[in-house]
Homo-oligomer: 334 residues x 4
Amino acid sequence: LCDLRSDTVTRPDAGMLQAMAAAELGDDVFGEDPSVNRLEAVLAERLGKDAGLFLPTGTMSNFTAMLAHCQRGEEVICGRGYHVYAYEAVGASVLGGIALCPVAVRGDGALDPAEIRSAVREDDPHLPISRLLSLENTHNGLAVPLADMAAAAGAGRAAGLSVHLDGARFFNAITALGCSETDLAGLADTVSVCLSKGLGTPAGSVLAGPSDLIAKARRWRKMLGGGMRQAGVLAAAGLYALEHNVARLAEDHARAAEMAGVLRSLGAGEVVQATNMVFFTPADGRNDGLRAHLAADGVVIGGGSSGAIRIVLHRDVDDAALARAVQGLKSFYG
Amino acid sequence: LCDLRSDTVTRPDAGMLQAMAAAELGDDVFGEDPSVNRLEAVLAERLGKDAGLFLPTGTMSNFTAMLAHCQRGEEVICGRGYHVYAYEAVGASVLGGIALCPVAVRGDGALDPAEIRSAVREDDPHLPISRLLSLENTHNGLAVPLADMAAAAGAGRAAGLSVHLDGARFFNAITALGCSETDLAGLADTVSVCLSKGLGTPAGSVLAGPSDLIAKARRWRKMLGGGMRQAGVLAAAGLYALEHNVARLAEDHARAAEMAGVLRSLGAGEVVQATNMVFFTPADGRNDGLRAHLAADGVVIGGGSSGAIRIVLHRDVDDAALARAVQGLKSFYG
Amino acid sequence: LCDLRSDTVTRPDAGMLQAMAAAELGDDVFGEDPSVNRLEAVLAERLGKDAGLFLPTGTMSNFTAMLAHCQRGEEVICGRGYHVYAYEAVGASVLGGIALCPVAVRGDGALDPAEIRSAVREDDPHLPISRLLSLENTHNGLAVPLADMAAAAGAGRAAGLSVHLDGARFFNAITALGCSETDLAGLADTVSVCLSKGLGTPAGSVLAGPSDLIAKARRWRKMLGGGMRQAGVLAAAGLYALEHNVARLAEDHARAAEMAGVLRSLGAGEVVQATNMVFFTPADGRNDGLRAHLAADGVVIGGGSSGAIRIVLHRDVDDAALARAVQGLKSFYG
Amino acid sequence: LCDLRSDTVTRPDAGMLQAMAAAELGDDVFGEDPSVNRLEAVLAERLGKDAGLFLPTGTMSNFTAMLAHCQRGEEVICGRGYHVYAYEAVGASVLGGIALCPVAVRGDGALDPAEIRSAVREDDPHLPISRLLSLENTHNGLAVPLADMAAAAGAGRAAGLSVHLDGARFFNAITALGCSETDLAGLADTVSVCLSKGLGTPAGSVLAGPSDLIAKARRWRKMLGGGMRQAGVLAAAGLYALEHNVARLAEDHARAAEMAGVLRSLGAGEVVQATNMVFFTPADGRNDGLRAHLAADGVVIGGGSSGAIRIVLHRDVDDAALARAVQGLKSFYG
Ligand SMILES: [Ca+2]
Ligand SMILES: [Ca+2]
Ligand SMILES: [Ca+2]
Ligand SMILES: [Ca+2]
Ligand SMILES: [Ca+2]
Ligand SMILES: [Ca+2]
């Protein structure tokens, strides 16, 4: 099977499964799981933060970060298409009593400092209280340049906001930007990193930041029901991934570029590619036909009956799988 | 004094004060205030609805309407500049667990049916559940034509949404549109009407709608702390206003048009006028100077140090007051 | 009519209506209503607090106090039968995200310091964070002695809690206790006082406390929809009541004692009386019969078909009305 | 090590780890993880329910159940010492806007039907709306008899409530009661079962119930951040546990009884035992001394410096470990 719908579909490989089975475990609700503690410490250090917190998902990582930063009635400024606004069911508002203020995302995935400045609220009882700026990198595969990140974060800080980074694909971002982990993480107070996407683990995210905020986030994690017991079985997968699966993200980017090149050469529609993602919009609108054609060859793509199809490269798509997908595309459009 | 900042500044006149003092009163928490019951019945009938509910403010009227329409996790589609999104501190989200989805407001104050359609959510756990469309008329003084209201409401209903109308200035709208009360109110399930703006009462709003929704709203009013006892003292002002202060709204519109004409003749900046509001943007940016100049003559305008100044005509600005304001403007720009 | 159901049924008398009609008014959302400002200042000073806030109801006064004291996830310790827990629809939890921890109320209306101490939470993510102790005086008519109030407040403060006093009938309490306003108010950080019960106004409450908390409460008042415009019309009634209706509360207490004496002499059931309230439990269970009998004479009592009947004396029950009620009781049981 | 603090400390054994490594995996957010789907189906069938939902923790399982059953402003009646009220940080209120009404738990762990009936609310805007009865079995180790469960559930249903069962230790309960899984589960609409306690998995719970409620709970799981990707790695542990670790719970109960017998024979304090739990209250108050003494032998007990010590038997305490604990107790008190 060649599943190109998302890098979330990655399954643990033999080495990772072995690391999981060998993991030292304890009860993380008591703070006694050595693998969880190690993962939290390792990622905190790599991101240049005081402390880390392991969570079941990126959604909960972002949620606890917002709950830790913001009191009831305070507001998060974020990109309209960013995951915290667009794909987390507005949980920060619905359950957390936090207002979300979406601003336009530029074509390059960044937020415009001027947009941020104008979204910041005056002190007026008619308005919520601006508290946090939530950035995202990568966004739709786009690795937002450090300078743009710094400009946005700077605009937020100048207005007294704290800064959170949804780094669900943090390592794809630094791979593409060619920067260090702290170059990017240093721009934000808190950073959320997912382990289950390109890094290939079954589940889990880590939130890193200052000790006081992480202590608050830990408390919210408990209330949300994210305090698992022998979570080290998942944390061990994360530790393995940090060691073995970061450098190889460049391969995914390369395969994505190759896939984009093939699609462009077929002249079958618009193609946009960045890091491990390709967005392909069939000019003939035969999305459903293409999907069925590829599925017959064990190649799975997502999306609806029209518009852009997101194609995501990841660790479980090797050269052979890519070749199969390319062959399917060529035979459909050939 | 000639206070042009808002029509909320209207004070009760002698007739209204007399009506208030003469009002039959009872304990409205027990449902026994005859004046409240009469006001709720009168407005419900005039708006063609089953039932009415008296509330201390328009903010609470809109809030209870949203709470009555929407469960936790459901979403309201509304205009980005509409009061429920922009000036009610996002209380529906912060306290009520309701998501708000702001869409662009057209230049004429209406929502585009296509925008509404694209804001409606698919059934997907990543997304909130679309439930209510909240319209507004007038919006920034603009009386949105019935056909545009109907098109927006129709787009919402076709998607399974209920429709609420924030009619804070409902009677200004029908005065400008030349339509009946039910022509406008009939487009929405629930309608909120303010009594303390152009109608001139000290406080109070009425929410009208189907009996079941109004019963729910009544319950939320109690939880919010809006269940006053001898509220009939305010309701009597509302009843008086409905009888004496509706027809005269046309005078406010006429004075607003006169004021706009003067400003245009001065050539001092951009002028936009609709119903009882004028938005004047001084070309020379001397907002503060103008404000100080007028204040010396007892004419009060609001707004900041730059941008548009909102000038609102209302019952407490008669021809003499208007003349004073016009004189001030002429002497400043003359 | 002699309405003994509640002191909330009090209607403004001629003097109060005249004060309302003569009130200086302004837009309180702009902070410009002189009558509201005066009432807030007067009550703050009398209670020995920095600042006051006028609200439509006692429910909203308590609600905004809790929102101002407590962040999301923090907890209020209060009496199980206290109004904030038992009769405000748990709004602090439902809308405000505040946990409520009810503890047993002693027979004399006080909270036991030991109960308070044991209700305070350890610092543990499984538990909410204890933040506020909410007391009540009077409670079911009982004026809780200052020493008991001080002991409860002291237990709360020793555990790091702030203290709120629901003084819906604050002036009944100090009348019965024979203490000064600051003697009682000084035990709490914030105090809520109702104007529409024994004090006889149509509606309104005032929250008094430190400036920073009142500023926060003001903000929550706006979000809840309690920010009325010319609220001075109600505030003027409150100012009048503070001047004319405080000393006379002793008459209500005396009439309640007289009523209790009559009921005891009839030997018709259990009688408990304190301040302006009598709780009478008919031994023969003929609650409905008694209610119908009295209603025929224009005497209204509340309650269900069994158990205690609450009889409340207030400004609108004068000696003649009391005599009528006594006569009705005697003829029913004679 | 012999860790007697909780059965949550259980670690996966070799067979379970092998099952986890061999698990068929997929992306559960897409509904495509075969192991998760199998676990949900297996437990739903064993509990006689339409559908199941895998969640990271029991806290989230109970939380999503309450969110699925109750709208904003509705109330859950539960035992004061039950986990949903006492140890889940009141998240249902704080984040979910659900009121919790705690009632006294009887000495045998059951709720009294009369208490339930009197906790049900009248239809009154001053009160929340009663919606759900939440039971618990086992409670503090006590297996509540089916007849008592049925009486409580019956009282709830007669009042129109739905019924949830927090069966964190569901299989301990049926082991002790000698009943079938459906005998107990059939009394409730929804049942939450934990896999990480006596059943020995690293993490995970399952909520079972009617399809419509489970669909809603699935939606809330996503918003809370409980939608993991290849969750089958944990679900496989659960499937293994259901096959291998249910029958052996009787051993834990027998060892708990043995431990209780030893403590009683030492005459060192009060001893209460039920299912896999022993509550021992040292008569001499030397809790800290005992804890230190046992720790020197690698035996870990929890609790504070005074009061009852909870001793929990589970799969990771075999006869040798038990003997070590018994030896330590004897040498301390001998
Ligand atoms: Ca909430
Ligand atoms: Ca994965
Ligand atoms: Ca007014
Ligand atoms: Ca809330
Ligand atoms: Ca009154
Ligand atoms: Ca375990």
